[in-house]
Symmetry: C2
Subunit: 206 residues, 2 copies
Amino acid sequence: MPDFDFHVSAFAWVPETSRGWVKCLRPRWAFEEAGFAYRTTRLGPGEGGSDGYRAWQPFGMVPAYDDGRVRLFESGAILLRIGALSDRLRGWDDAEEATIASWVFAALNTFETHTSRLTDGLPGAVEAVSRRLEALEAALGDREWLVERFSVADIAMATVLREIGETAVLRRHAGVSAYLARCLARPAFDRALQAQFADFDDSRVA
Amino acid sequence: MPDFDFHVSAFAWVPETSRGWVKCLRPRWAFEEAGFAYRTTRLGPGEGGSDGYRAWQPFGMVPAYDDGRVRLFESGAILLRIGALSDRLRGWDDAEEATIASWVFAALNTFETHTSRLTDGLPGAVEAVSRRLEALEAALGDREWLVERFSVADIAMATVLREIGETAVLRRHAGVSAYLARCLARPAFDRALQAQFADFDDSRVA
């Protein structure tokens, strides 16, 4: 893909506890799986709120994406775009593409809405997440990935599940736990994580 | 589109308080805007949990979608599909399509995760929603819709905002309130709402 100039936004600095958890991890992981080189625009303190950045990402958050042809915000939309451009991540046919899109939305709405409640210790969250994990376990069955091959659906789902990876709720679902471990064992995930760490610039914030 | 056989799942019965709020409203609205005829598969009591339905919608929820070519679940994925098939809802070019996809994800993740917390009266939700409404108001500016023309992005966003439509938080943001009113005043929204109401079958549940 020599004529795409891949480019995502990232924070120049976040506290230690947020390192490895900023959502630019999702496009970074997809780029690593696809084998696409990419650049980052690092936002210094307050730059997320600037008018210039808000014209790209209305909420001042990361990631925002630009490939020289289209600009996107929201990690789900970005994952679908990178997936569509990659021979390694694309579905085999329209049916598989549709299933990938369904699972990306499932991860970021049906799951993340409730896993974030679990992380915050809110009432009812354990039961809500548990029901969804049970359904996910059944949907996975004996398959390695959400669709026949690894796809951006797995990147979306694994990054959401990873947030609750140490909880008893997740550990009760052995199939999902094994699926998450399989996703996070991919070398491209580790490269994405290291790239996020490497991009923080401690010299800029005294 | 004579060779697409549009088809969504819906509940055959829900309590009065849920009527008009079931998420099959989103594809119904998109079909009405597009001018596409569609059929519904109505799920009776317990049918959502059946293996047959779970093979279509892994979480036993509605809507699930089938157009004879692809099957989808998750209302966001369904909206993007209907939008892509409709000359009335499609973006003008790739850039606009990308913006539409970004806003559909923004509605169902950046917004709905927090508006559902507001509906449930959870701590911090007012501030989180308020910040997002402020950003949305700035992003809208003087435009009528999220992109240049009405699109499935507006259907996603309006159905999420409608859930907090009577709250003080929303009313404080006059531009967003006016935007929501503009969306809900569209005749296609009303037709979708009436179609959902008409589909409930009280004779089946004694």
